[in-house]
Amino acid sequence: MHLSPRSAASLVVATIVVGAAPAIASAVSTITISGATASYPLVQQLAHKYSKLNRNQVAFRIAQGGAQVGINDVAAGRVTIGDVSRDPLPSDPSGLDFYPIAKYAICVVTNKSNPLSTLSEAQIQAIFTGRYHEWSQVPGAGVTGPIDLISRTSTAGVLTNFKTLFLGNKSVAKTAAEEPSEGLLAQQVANDPHAIGFLSNYRADQGTVNAVGFNGVACNRANAASGQYSAVARFYEVTRGPATGAAAKFISWIDTSRAARKIISTQWIPNK
């Protein structure tokens, strides 16, 4: 048999394609997910457990990208489920169904050398909208000097929630630094004694920053679970139209099963 390099190359490609075909054709249904980075650790644990319980029936492909990416991907039909870390907005495309899966608290955080125990809603608004410039204007502050606001880039779902829950939908002052991730925000607050920012509760719990109470209630998982701490936001699984098939089963498993509840309760708060 006389074989040119070109036909050899096409043979190799053909072998790869034929070899991959059975994997595509099998009965495993694949759930594709993209979206919020904040809920990624939770969704990943849930998916891992779910595919263990339903071996050879379901497979997951999970990507991150941010809440807005999840919304756009699911609206365009690129993924089965979009992960979203904020409430539905009027600007979201129509025809999406939001299924709440868990709750998380948002904590205002300061540097460890400024162990503020609590702030009122009015104080937080005055600080983050730029009306207060100095820590001396804040009773109980452990430092003096200007206040350094550390916020998130406008794409962050946590920022949207923070504005709704703490600022009455007012905007954070324009002088604020806009960190692209929760990790960098935590690091900036840990670096700078004058800083103040906000994080989801499982980031604030990690001990690098001081979590400030809200209206007299300490910001932690227990207070958020008992309902005393009010600044609580939700994670959603979003589908285009009502969830069907494997996605519907997965979402109702998150909602009802004890295994899912156990995973959620490690760092987050079950929906009910």
Binding site: M1, L3, S4, P5, R6, S7, A8, A9, L11, V12, T37, G65, G66, A67, Q68, V69, I71, N72, D73, A75, L89, S91, D92, P93, H133, E134, G145, P146, I147, D148, L149, I150, T153, S154, T155, A156, K174, T175, A176, A177, E178, E179, P180, L184, Q187, Q188, N191, D192, P193, H194, A195
Partner: protein, 350 residues
């Protein structure tokens, strides 16, 4: 297809038993005729050109809505950039024309500022240390320095960013910035330590080793007869370096500067980590505090906002920034070429 390659020596029947890919590989290993080699390699390099053209076209098409809204007006100043980006993000899928309003002057200025300052610092540093390594350092030291510089040149930028945010930013914030500086500027901008100064220092450290490595190679290529000639005329070492060696390697210095500038322009992660992440244009009139003021660059803005790439308006805006970066890389290499032209006559090519 050309089939003129002679069969390899050896009985044909020993090859018959082999698998098909192995025989195909064997055919590829035979010496190629010039015409075939020329065509194949030509096709590969043409592919590179096609890739560049396709990428520029793609980015330009995606960025078009920004141009369609306001021509080249988006390069100028106007309004708050963070408000504009927020509007773009919230406009979601069916964005109205007003959502494409964008004025990128603060980040354009920030990019030019960081790059210029870092290159201005890096050029003398790099040239002087290269001259020391090649011309003055004792042998063992030179043999140790060259690999160390190469290693430094290949350190990933995220490591520099990490050192910046964990060490330099807190140091500047806690020890260099005074309370009076903070208070004086508090109504316009907050000084946290992350800002222009730290970004420029780290960027200089990042780009200088590339230049040192390139300049070292150029210095090595200067014919030793020239140096000997200078020594024979009684010129001392430092003067010979100034009058002869440095003049001879000018094209190489330009080439190294162009490469280093390109790396500085495109640096995203490190700058996103240490530059303070605020749309602010540092004002030289603020005195020393100028170096502590935060800013963003084109590349770091893309990194900071990539989560919003699902929103059509913001996606166009990020593509417009990318197009600007591509364009400046193009301008840079053309400028480098033009500067080198008159220097080539007696120079050492690099």
């Amino acid at each position: 297809m050309t089939r003129s390659a002679p069969p390899l020596a050896g009985p044909a029947d020993t090859r018959r038993g082999r698998s098909i890919p192995a025989r195909a590989l064997e055919r590829l290993r035979r010496p190629w005729p010039d015409s075939r080699a020329g065509r194949t390699l030509g096709a590969v390099s043409l592919l590179a050109c096609l890739c560049v053209a396709a990428m520029v076209t793609f980015v330009a098409v995606r960025a078009w809505p920004i141009f369609a809204h306001d021509g080249l007006g988006w390069l100028g100043p106007g309004g708050s950039l963070s408000t504009q980006i927020e509007t773009m993000l919230n406009a979601s899928t069916d964005a109205p024309a007003s959502a494409y309003r964008l004025h990128v002057w603060p980040i354009l200025y920030g990019t030019l500022l960081i790059t210029t300052l870092a290159v201005l610092l890096a050029v003398p540093l790099a040239v002087l240390s290269a001259v020391f390594i090649v011309e003055l350092a004792p042998g063992p030291l030179r043999r140790a320095m060259v690999p160390v510089v190469r290693l430094l040149a290949s350190v990933p930028s995220v490591i520099y960013g990490q050192i910046g945010i964990l060490v330099l930013v807190p140091f500047v914030g806690n020890h260099l910035i005074t309370t009076s500086q903070r208070v004086a500027l508090e109504s316009r901008v907050q000084l946290t330590g992350a800002g222009l100064g730290v970004a420029v220092v780290i960027l200089t450290v990042m780009i200088a080793p590339i230049m040192v490595a390139l300049v070292c190679e150029a210095l090595g290529a200067v014919p030793s007869a020239w140096r000997e000639g200078a020594a024979a005329l009684g010129v001392n070492r430092l003067r010979a370096i100034r009058a002869l060696t440095l003049r001879a390697i000018r094209p190489a210095i330009v080439a190294a500067t162009v490469l280093a500038t390109a790396r500085a322009l495109g640096e995203a992660i490190m700058i996103s980590m240490v530059s303070g992440s605020v749309f602010f244009a540092p004002a030289p009139t603020d005195g020393v505090a100028f170096f502590y003021e935060p800013l963003r660059t084109l590349a770091s803005t893309i990194i900071d906002n990539h989560e919003g790439i699902g929103s059509p308006a913001l996606r166009s805006a990020l593509y417009a920034l990318a197009l600007l970066l591509l364009f400046s890389a193009f301008v840079l290499s053309v400028a480098g070429y033009l500067i080198k032209l008159p220097l080539r006559r007696y120079g050492v090519r690099a």
